[in-house]
Symmetry: D2
Subunit: 434 residues, 4 copies
Amino acid sequence: MILRYSRPEMVNIWSAATKFRIWYEIEAHACDAMADLGVIPRENAEAVWKAKDVEFDVARIDEIEAVTKHDVIAFLTHLAEHIGSDEARFVHQGMTSSDVLDTCFNVQLTRAADILIADVEALLAALKRRALEHKDTVRIGRSHGIHAEPTTMGLTFARFYAEMDRNLARLRVARDEIATGAISGAVGTFANIDPAIEEHVCEKLGLKPEPISTQVIPRDRHAAFFACLGVVGSSIENIATEIRHMQRTEVLEAEEFFSAGQKGSSAMPHKRNPVLTENLTGLARLCRMSVVPAMENVALWHERDISHSSVERNIGPDTTVTLDFALSRLTGVIDKLVIYPDNMLANMNKFRGLVMSQRVLLALTQAGVSREDSYKLVQRNAMKVWEEGKDFKTELLADEDVLKSLSPEEIEEKFDLGYHTKHVDTIFKRVFGD
Amino acid sequence: MILRYSRPEMVNIWSAATKFRIWYEIEAHACDAMADLGVIPRENAEAVWKAKDVEFDVARIDEIEAVTKHDVIAFLTHLAEHIGSDEARFVHQGMTSSDVLDTCFNVQLTRAADILIADVEALLAALKRRALEHKDTVRIGRSHGIHAEPTTMGLTFARFYAEMDRNLARLRVARDEIATGAISGAVGTFANIDPAIEEHVCEKLGLKPEPISTQVIPRDRHAAFFACLGVVGSSIENIATEIRHMQRTEVLEAEEFFSAGQKGSSAMPHKRNPVLTENLTGLARLCRMSVVPAMENVALWHERDISHSSVERNIGPDTTVTLDFALSRLTGVIDKLVIYPDNMLANMNKFRGLVMSQRVLLALTQAGVSREDSYKLVQRNAMKVWEEGKDFKTELLADEDVLKSLSPEEIEEKFDLGYHTKHVDTIFKRVFGD
Amino acid sequence: MILRYSRPEMVNIWSAATKFRIWYEIEAHACDAMADLGVIPRENAEAVWKAKDVEFDVARIDEIEAVTKHDVIAFLTHLAEHIGSDEARFVHQGMTSSDVLDTCFNVQLTRAADILIADVEALLAALKRRALEHKDTVRIGRSHGIHAEPTTMGLTFARFYAEMDRNLARLRVARDEIATGAISGAVGTFANIDPAIEEHVCEKLGLKPEPISTQVIPRDRHAAFFACLGVVGSSIENIATEIRHMQRTEVLEAEEFFSAGQKGSSAMPHKRNPVLTENLTGLARLCRMSVVPAMENVALWHERDISHSSVERNIGPDTTVTLDFALSRLTGVIDKLVIYPDNMLANMNKFRGLVMSQRVLLALTQAGVSREDSYKLVQRNAMKVWEEGKDFKTELLADEDVLKSLSPEEIEEKFDLGYHTKHVDTIFKRVFGD
Amino acid sequence: MILRYSRPEMVNIWSAATKFRIWYEIEAHACDAMADLGVIPRENAEAVWKAKDVEFDVARIDEIEAVTKHDVIAFLTHLAEHIGSDEARFVHQGMTSSDVLDTCFNVQLTRAADILIADVEALLAALKRRALEHKDTVRIGRSHGIHAEPTTMGLTFARFYAEMDRNLARLRVARDEIATGAISGAVGTFANIDPAIEEHVCEKLGLKPEPISTQVIPRDRHAAFFACLGVVGSSIENIATEIRHMQRTEVLEAEEFFSAGQKGSSAMPHKRNPVLTENLTGLARLCRMSVVPAMENVALWHERDISHSSVERNIGPDTTVTLDFALSRLTGVIDKLVIYPDNMLANMNKFRGLVMSQRVLLALTQAGVSREDSYKLVQRNAMKVWEEGKDFKTELLADEDVLKSLSPEEIEEKFDLGYHTKHVDTIFKRVFGD
């Protein structure tokens, strides 16, 4: 985790304090369920809740762990310091450390997913606002980096919206997939602990019981979860790449917001670097890099081995923190992105109407000119634009052979931008609904 | 694609013949829709269907492409050879090559997903059958490769079932996500083609219209698709790894089926290698390797670039073909897997009852012995088993200090396997339903 | 392997015919060595060479394999058909299939590396030629896609040269690493075959004996090999990305060569897409994707398992074929890349001298103006350029406050491009030597 | 970076204090070189060294950065607080931040590589010691997890030694590749800074000048560096996997050292989990995951963009720290690995001589029995071993048909382990030299 690319709420999910708090809740709820089953005395279960407002002392737990060499035992020992050794003696009965650790990890991932979902919702709001704002702001569409046909900036925002909306759905699925808990004992047979306890704890923590576990929760769930984050990261890169292109000196159709106070801006006004979106491009790579190890974690040996653990200690916090930060940063970028409609028009006209050459070609064909002749007519005028800097429409209007087949009004119409934007409403309806 | 790891039905999806057939359907349906809109004459639309039973001549199309240097044009030229130049002149009007290529690719991926879904269903049937068959076949559960507590072979199959059942759900989501088509023109504005055409073609092909496209269908869909295949592949590795472990010489709890005729079997009866599951382990790596490039494909430049294309020409066929083959091979392995219940029991008893030491420890504590004393009692008997090859239960039954707290019947009970299997039904109900 | 992205020489390395030829050579040389040791009769060893000009019949071998279910046995059976059963009876004695397969694979990889090395050498020649040609062709250097300071096109080519020259060195190391053979028997102990045989065969095939093998050659060698190919692929992406940027409509400092005959060029002269470099970007992803599975192949179980095999059947041919094609394609692109020096100058002057603002700022400071005042002086002139379209130098020459500290000559000098190119020779000497 | 998987020396390389120290040295040496060239006054250069024993105040620099929003400027400001504003005014003249940052990063990576090299050397020493110790400790070699032919534990250690020795060579190459520095200005043209300064600074820092840079040092160097770490990580996984297999309950040929004090050991003596090597398996995945993003970092836009930076802030420390820890942990594991030669023999004899069946088969053939008959002879005896638990050698010695072709002495000889170890010395000589 890189602190400069993090936000406190997500970081907090992964703090030792939060972890111990979740452990505590798992143990306390488990005691309640055991008391319900008559497995342990009710008063012992109730005693555990005496610590319900305690902020556990992480340093003290670490101190105990230094002796016991076992994190869960250290926590239980510390818990006993709060509620009394005697009262605490049934805590964790019949459970394994993994029951606590795995359930806790999934609680953390579920909470992380909730934040990421909120992040994407905020991003969607920004994208929608900017899409509506620039619904009719015409700019040139580019395939292969080369001018193709006109589109609008609103459509650009709208497609990012649609993509992020799919990511929202994916995140929700991923969240539900990871929202399971397991308290099933050493190899998942519930030999020493009744399934009712798992059910109770899961219900209290907002999880579903893992249908079948083996000390550990199966890691295909986590693989799918991190794969989802990798896809979201890739979509961030997609948007970031568009903005980086738009901010290039020669294009300059948009700029990341650059606050007045930022030094250097006015002595080198051309030198405003799209550093946020470049940063997002790098963060996307970081999000993606956890996907394969998460998949490699699936094939644990027999009922479980511990190889996944070190991987998850890293990618659990790092990937969620990075993605949260990236989504939030991207929302800020979109929110304040400075759009230059004039430059969009200027760029579109860089080759003085040539982008319309295909429409003219088609019109000539439809007017009955042979494909070959149409091509020659367009070509000879196009070359004058390309080589001599002429204006395409002007040349066409002066070309008598063209005028034999197309009236000046028809030629004018071929350069009407409305032709290209006539279905924007339809598309917006598809993307944003009515 | 490696032919020896492929099956014809999936390979066929990716054949040139299939591709041209799909292209044909897209074009023919598009013509229908254009005729409906009055954009082209009805008879021209109808004429296209004259080719509906034609098997297109791939070699001929290649020949034309060698001249035109353009695959879609080559196909259209060949189509005209079948239906007549004049009749064909409105085919593809207003469309771009990508409209055809991208929609076709998604048709192929959707069909591939359908096969993979059927594959997983077949695998599930095999897993369920074997789970029920071995529901009560006791074997030792292992954490870290070390004996832990008893479980059953049925639970092992059941957890693979549950995992593959999740994969089934994931594949269905992935299939639906990829089942979109786009016929939206050069930059996705429908400038030259009415959205109704896209809707008609998609409906006929079983696709949904892509809400917003930009000549290409957005590649986050494909990233999610291939990520899903990577997860499924990882689950295959998980199952394969279990079987490889079970077949190890020292474990020998199961063997891949080895047909009588396979040479070498009887002169070296110990030398039956789990080559199918080892192969599956490798195939899983191949499935996984397409995930990152599919994600790298998301960030195309502006409305589209062509960098994704070469990647998809590879991973489209290769990953689906490999996964199809792997699922099918795994189903065969599961179906015929030879299980050795006697070896399972022998393995479990390798250390003569020691795996029950924890139950005994717990029983002593519950009988009022202090934790420390309980530990010492268990330890001194355990060491006799470990170092002198004694039997754990026998030693306990002969230990007077133990007998002070536990009756012989109580000791016997601690070695009852039923204790460990008492919740198998509950778990089976969770996994397989009632 | 995608045939359209392949070249015959590399494809041929991976053909069945080549493979059998290499197997033959391994077996024949091994027989010679066995005869030298007196382990088999000299005449049997000599008899094997009777087949030295035979082109083995792949279909026939496949036919035999369909029966024997074993590729090496099928080959040996076919070999016996050529040289006689009796003469052939000592062939392969004491050897395992892996001795043949692994040694053959490394021969193939070594030959593939030789082609790749030659590819990079050809690319280097092209890069060097273009670097020298455009050593002094000034263009703007860009950081973050934003104009920074002038550089030259020659320097751009030179840095690609330096990068590819490092790749050449890496490929040579990778080639040497992979150029080992092993004929060491079932678990690598030489129990049934003398080490002298391995030494002889390796020497004849241009390999070094693997110091210690275990039926298989250790896979860290292959991991390092494919990692190297992944780095080379990434460098290809680096160069391709630069060209794609240069060819963008708004930049247009270079174009992939577009042959006169390629249709559509002159009617839409602006629409020349950098499809080759976009394709190279995708091919780079394909090269990279084999790196992780090659690394996952390293941890085989005990002396060997077969999980690596399916991976290598794919990435062996696919990655080398793809990289060979990509390098060759890139060489063609570089060789014929159309450079537009005028556009480079026009781009550089897009903001009428503003890129020199930092030099002016520095000059003012050095002339004794305080940092703050210098900044204000530059700023007020810069803003006139940025907002009103004025020329920076003209404004400075008309600013009396500036003129108090800098003479007109000094101001002129700040706009001298020679300032930026004065060390080009030094850099070229570093890169290309004297 | 996960603190529990880290060692202080490597962590320290990545501390803010170390970073500022390196920045200081770069700036101070650069001043010296500028003074040598007469570009700045000698006394100003000398003044910088006044801070040579200063421990820079990281909190203070952070404080300044909070205002300036620029890390290098914040550092320079703080430096001026130590040496005086006036004395400091020429520091960093003509340099860019990247000159400092990139050179510093490579210094850090070079130092990290030095530690990793020392780590591998320590591991090699441990492997060699154990290899010599167990040179003749016979164990069964396994292919596919199945018993094949005898080998020795020394050979196992020796092959890990050979693999790690290759990694040592790779690390040395990677270290040399990354040991470059660049002080070449905004786009690498040395427009504002003489190449002599770069040469001087690099020499002082133990680096080579980057032949051609573009504000940044080209990232193919870093890609190759992290690829190398990924290979080393994979080799760690290879060794770890072997040990995990050896420690399995059913195999038990080795155990990670388990200190007497570790709780739970003696009450469940069978339950000693190979947690260190499982952990190493996970750490290997973490090492590997940085390879692809490092490769994705190569294709920066034009002279540079900043997308690589966030990636490197993560993988720079994380991967080197993880690999250092993993190598050190592995060395500890190897050093103290408890080997059980008796279990090795017991395992080898699990099928009472059957592993020798192939030698017997060969001997029969060589004694003139037809291949078919030999096979039948071996088979009928093998099946008695397999199915009835007989001893293979005993059966052979009692089989009159076998005795017709092989004398009892010859049969005995087939079971002589010396046959399998006769070339161990040769192999050791290859691996360890004389």
